[in-house]
Symmetry: C2
Subunit: 217 residues, 2 copies
DNA sequence: CATGTTATTCTTGTATACAAGAATATTGAC
DNA sequence: GTCAATATTCTTGTATACAAGAATAACATG
């Protein structure tokens, strides 16, 4: 055993939650999971503890841990918080971004454009993710960068879907261009506002999707 | 046993770290801690896991967990992130704050003033904390509120000390008044900027304190 | 005496055992 | 047949046992 199996299990469980194999409200049966991963309950429990502190599951004493997918309200709140976080990163980046980082941002954007031209939302998301990580990093604040990445990861499944909406990729691309332009100018407030709107729109689009989905059923 | 002892131990350990009884870099000896709290290693380990995910300790495989107090750089980054978070809360609060909440903010501020008049930094800090929590709540975003509180807790020991600097309490009080004034006006940007500066100053003051402390030794 | 090597001890990480509360099944009364 | 009370089973939470790597001590060698 070269690595803590508890850590491996943490990631496996996260994956199960993200892919939806462990659905909302489902109980995490320690024994079943232990058998599934071929370990004892101990590392499974440690993994569950970690998920609990990062908010993916809730623990009820003597009853176990349950998957806790955010509801519509919490999701909106998380998107709003993400918008604010990214705005903060962008504002700081406007003052601190290096020429090298700007070049990287441009190339990331070009790749987004390529994905858009190919009409490939998954590829677009991937390149788009890279673009945003670059902005977090350009904030020059490692702590903020980590926090932004954490929330980004948590929202990842929801940010993805809205890209499949008609015209959304193209619109997103325009917003990216404006963000970079404002960064080049060094206009902190404009970067912040553009980024904030960029994320807020994602939240709204996602909201629309959800509403339509419910209507459909 | 009415409550999970692991949860109790988590809080006890947090306390030990905050009070400094467990100093920076110190190893958390599972056996010693287990004896100290009168339990087995299992709940102690679970508690340590939690501290690790919240960032208070780092774990090295097969070597144990070590207290990880943030260094000067990380501390500055955390203060900056806190400033941004509070600014975000304030901006949202400017649009959403209720009249009731404004009254609460005013009374909280009056209590700060009273503490200032008594020249009691500890009391001031307490009332000041309440003031800030009210602003987090007034953001109308529960998720953001939680995140802000989390970081606030983490910075608590450092926010405290700078209040003992000559004239800092009075200055802080002025800033509070301006924040409320901007909230009443509903001027989001002004609230955000004032709050951001309010926290940023705390970071700077703390920095000065640290610098002087080092010079002294 | 310094240093490199081996042996021992210690600590973590995992598995298993046990205690106690929660959920479920069984039984009895109406 | 339905509902309440009790008995049983199941699951979590904690303690202990064991395995393996890390730190340390003992020792040999130059």
């Amino acid at each position: 055993m070269t690595i803590r199996s508890a850590d491996r299990i943490t990631k496996e469980l996260e994956h199960l939650v993200f892919t939806g194999e462990l659905g909302d409200g489902e109980r995490l049966d320690e024994i079943k999971l232990a058998k599934r991963f071929g370990v004892s309950r101990t590392p499974v429990r440690e993994a569950i503890q970690k998920l609990a502190t990062s908010g993916l599951v809730t623990q009820e004493p003597r009853r176990g841990a349950f998957v806790r997918q955010p509801g519509p309200v919490e999701l909106m709140e998380m998107f709003e918080a993400m918008a604010e976080l990214e705005a903060s990163c962008g504002r700081l980046a406007a003052f601190r971004v290096s020429d090298d980082a700007l070049v990287l941002l441009q190339t990331a954007n070009d790749k987004c454009q390529a994905a858009l031209d190919q009409g490939d939302p998954d590829l677009y998301y991937q390149e788009n993710e890279h673009f945003h990580h670059l902005i977090y990093k350009a904030s020059g604040n490692g702590f903020l960068e980590q926090e932004a990445q954490k929330l980004h990861r948590r929202l990842k499944p929801f940010r993805r879907v809205q890209l499949h909406l008609r015209g959304r990729m193209k619109q997103s691309m325009c917003e990216h261009r404006e963000i970079v332009a404002a960064l080049v100018e060094g206009d902190g407030d404009r970067v912040a506002n553009t980024l904030r709107d960029h994320i807020a729109i994602q939240g709204e689009k996602f909201h629309h999707l959800m509403a339509n989905l419910k209507k459909g059923t």
